[in-house]
């Protein structure tokens, strides 16, 4: 073992992330993000950048650029959550964390939206994601070249690698040594796992399938002023502890400290275009029922794969009658979900799967193409810990209602559940459009999402389900229940190197509008079978680097001055002696 490795092992969990004090800026005694010192910009003040959406993309971008002296305002349609006051340790009570405004879902294999994939409020859907933070594999960025499917990215894994490493320190991510993709270590040691995961891992091992603990965005131990995880299992209902990473606790506090304004409860309705110059001038938004306009030198949209295309499509003008940056009819296309069937297995012992965070162990052994399987690309295997309502939907999805349903549910404590994430391919007809004639409470046309699987998708999901079935059989499960579902959302404004076939370039800049950027998961041309959160953050982190580089080489004198004055801001007090 090298000295470097020894040192890393010794320092595990003790390393502080560079250039991000979020965990230390939180209050020791309450969970809410301190906002007393937050900057407030006037609507008429032309900020350097206005960001739409304070989730994985918008939150990270704001923190990075605020650190570099940019004047940034982030608008979010939902509230600025106070975990103590707003969140409950209860499955049904988490309803308000989701985007619950009307959306229409169509196509041959329509996707259920809402709680499983759409967030609302500061922190975005990472507030209610499970916590898995895997990296994409190097192969994900060149699936067309390697496998003849999908599309190559205009960037490679190695453009994101150092952003992944930095974010893994910031969240921080805990897990065992990761042998798949680009092999790497995690800054925090793996968490203990519960009985069910132990049994499933044993079953997988008998079949020669390797499952590893992690990677999860939950500190192992306290982290700054974020307390230790208490293994209560309510990760999907919003972490009241502040142990699970979301931009709300990992990036927003530092963004505020460096002068960003997070303006909650502001629904952006229109990105405004100056017809003569072809540049955007700011955004129109609704706050307390009144329409307002925030001026900005540039706009970054980070509303996720449905709201981002919806906003662009609704932002029509004489120059862009079919939606902003949509001359080539690419906005809203190639939207993707992952096939995410759950398989539950019944064991003689009680497993009580409601305990411990749902993300425990995973395997990426089936991630890349294996021609013997008869389809391109692959899937990953992960644990999930459905609470009673979700498990009941699982049981009824298998055809059991009435007394059979009740009997299965009385048996809840004996069950354990695994899920897969199958990489489904990007298809042009899988798209977000605005529904003619149907409007939301503000009178804005709602989004419609159409989704259909292709043959490769069906084969992938079927194979993945058989694999899980085999794992449970090998683990000694007495009965098995299978349910089909989807998870995650990416694509819809993909990046590319051909303006005719993509919406943004490799630097997230819209081909058709020079100061309009897309900064969320909708830029992804393909999705791999990894959970997208960490990659969305890494993309935003890279975008910040690119934007600042361009600006410091070609920016105006006043911009440079404003950055310098921002840098002279006093260094924040660091609580906790960290």
């Amino acid at each position: 073992m090298s000295l470097r490795h020894e040192l890393r092992t010794l320092l595990r969990g003790a390393l502080r992330p560079p250039e991000n004090d979020s965990a230390f800026l939180l209050d020791v005694h309450r969970r809410a993000v301190p906002q007393e010192r937050m900057a407030r910009y006037d609507d008429s003040y032309p900020v350097d950048l206005v960001i739409v959406g304070a989730g994985a993309g918008g939150g990270t971008l704001a923190q990075r650029l605020a650190r570099r002296g940019w004047k940034v305002v982030v608008l979010d349609a939902g509230p600025f959550w106070d975990p103590d006051r707003d969140w409950v340790s209860d499955e049904a009570g988490a309803h308000k964390l989701y985007w619950t405004e009307e959306r229409i879902t169509g196509g041959e294999d329509p996707v259920e939206l809402g709680k499983n994939n759409s967030g609302r409020g500061v922190g975005g859907s990472m507030v209610h994601y499970a916590g898995y933070c895997p990296r994409f594999h190097p192969s994900d960025f060149e699936v067309c070249t390697r496998d003849g499917v999908g599309e190559d990215w205009p960037i490679s894994y190695y453009d994101l690698k150092h952003h992944y490493e930095r974010l893994e320190l910031e969240l921080p991510v805990a897990g065992e040594y990761w042998p798949w993709g680009d092999p790497h270590r995690y800054p925090h040691t793996a968490h203990p796992i519960a009985g069910g995961a132990d049994a499933a891992r044993g079953g997988a091992r008998k079949l020669g399938i390797e499952m590893r603990v992690g990677p999860v965005g939950i500190a192992n131990g306290s982290f700054g002023n974020r307390p230790h995880c208490i293994y209560r299992g309510f990760c999907l209902q919003g972490c009241k502890v502040n142990a699970k990473a979301s931009p709300l606790v990992t990036h927003i506090p530092d963004a505020i400290e460096h002068g960003a304004e997070i303006r909650a409860n502001c629904m952006v309705t229109h990105v405004e275009l100056d017809e003569s110059s072809g540049r955007v001038t700011g955004v129109r938004y609704l706050r307390d029922g009144h329409e307002r306009f925030q001026r900005a030198d540039a706009v970054a949209v980070a509303g996720y794969s449905i709201e981002t295309p919806r906003l662009l499509l609704n932002s029509t003008s004489a120059r862009f009658p079919h939606g902003l940056a949509n001359q080539n009819d690419q906005v809203g296309r190639y939207v993707m979900v992952q096939g995410a069937p759950h398989i539950a297995g019944r064991f003689p012992e009680e497993m009580r799967m409601y305990k411990a965070p749902p993300p425990e162990i995973s395997s990426e052994q089936f991630y890349e193409t294996d021609e013997r399987r008869g389809f391109a690309r692959g899937f990953s295997i992960q644990t999930v810990g459905p609470l009673p309502i979700e498990h009941a939907q699982h049981v009824i999805g298998h055809g059991h209602w009435g007394r059979a349903l009740r009997e299965y549910m009385r048996d809840y404590n004996h069950w354990y559940t695994l899920g897969v994430l199958s990489e489904l391919l990007p298809l042009p007809e899988n798209r977000v459009t605005v529904a003619g004639g149907v409007t939301d409470q503000h009178g804005i046309p709602v989004a419609r999402m159409d989704y259909s699987q292709c043959e490769n998708d069906r084969k992938n999901i079927a194979f993945a389900k058989r694999t899980l079935h085999d794992i449970f059989e090998a683990a000694g499960a007495q009965d098995v229940l299978v349910t089909d579902r989807y998870a995650h959302l990416v694509g819809g404004c993909r990046m590319g190197s051909d303006p005719e076939r993509s919406v943004v370039d490799a630097d997230h800049r819209c081909w058709e509008v020079p100061n309009l950027f897309v900064a969320d998961g909708s830029v992804m041309p393909t999705q791999g079978s990894a959970n997208p959160a960490l990659t969305i953050m890494a993309l935003a982190s890279r975008l910040a680097e690119r934007l600042d580089l361009k600006r410091s080489s070609g920016g105006s004198e006043s911009a440079r001055q404003s950055r310098r004055s921002r840098r002279s801001r006093p260094v924040p007090m660091r609580a906790g002696g960290g």
Partner: protein, 247 residues
């Protein structure tokens, strides 16, 4: 009445001839707190004994479900009768105490708390529930009953079975795809039933866990306050063992 060994899975419908579940009447009666119909799979476990360990915000939300049953405001009297009977069959609530599922669904629909999507070939969830009520009555009529609520248990179960399998047809069902409608109404009904602490007692769920959390995560382990399953202790051996200790 013989006890069951829950290490074996012989009570589960998939493993029984004909797919019929074991009778819940073989379980003991709930001894501590309430379960729906008082079936006692965890007869001495009452999650509401733990309320002092829950954070205040969660406690208010959960206790509201047991203390304040909202009155029906969204559905009409007739719709409520039909859908109430449907929820009873769907969730096998054949006697008191019952979790007031329809009242909870009604409150959500009345407040306009929807789930964030609707299928392109479906109306709004609120309209779907209303049409399901009409469709269930029409289906009962096809079986010779005047309406769903007044039908025999056998007819009700036949109608629900057809609904579950997506084979209802005629009138309402020609414009409302039954398999999609099934998803909408079961999502609402299950969300209400399994959010109720009485259902948590029945299934042995630990309930809210903030700020206490869990420490015993391993196979077969439980916190000292979590409930033991019925028949976990063989009464004969237990008595013998205790006598030995007592002398």
């Amino acid at each position: 009445m013989a006890g069951r060994d829950f290490r074996e899975a012989a009570h589960l419908p998939n493993l029984r001839p004909g797919g019929e579940p074991a009778s819940p009447e073989e379980l003991p009666r709930q001894r501590n707190g309430v379960t729906p119909q008082m079936h006692g799979r965890y007869p001495d476990y009452n999650v509401l004994d733990e309320v002092d360990h829950w954070d205040e915000v969660t406690r208010r939300v959960v206790l509201e479900r047991t203390e304040n049953v909202p009155r029906i405001r969204f559905f009409s009297h007739g719709e409520a009768a039909t859908l109430g009977a449907f929820c009873d069959v769907l969730l096998a609530q054949d006697r008191e105490p019952k979790i007031p599922v329809l009242n909870m669904v009604d409150a959500k629909l009345f407040a306009g708390e929807l789930d964030g999507f609707r299928f392109a070939d479906m109306p709004d969830d609120r309209e779907t529930w209303r049409r399901v009520a009409a469709g269930l009555d029409a289906a009962a009529l096809q079986h010779g009953s005047i309406d769903f609520a007044g039908a025999s248990q056998e007819i009700k179960e036949q109608v629900v079975e057809a609904f579950a399998e997506g084979t209802l047809h005629g009138q309402v069902w020609d414009e409302l795809p039954p398999s999609r409608a099934w998803k909408v109404v079961t999502r609402g009904a299950l969300g209400a039933f399994y959010s109720h602490p009485w259902a948590w007692n029945e299934i042995g769920f630990g309930g809210p866990a903030y700020p206490r959390g869990y420490a015993r995560l391993g196979i077969g382990q439980r916190e000292r306050w979590e409930g033991a399953s019925a028949f976990e202790t063989d009464p004969v051996k237990d008595t013998e063992r205790r006598r030995v200790q007592g002398t």
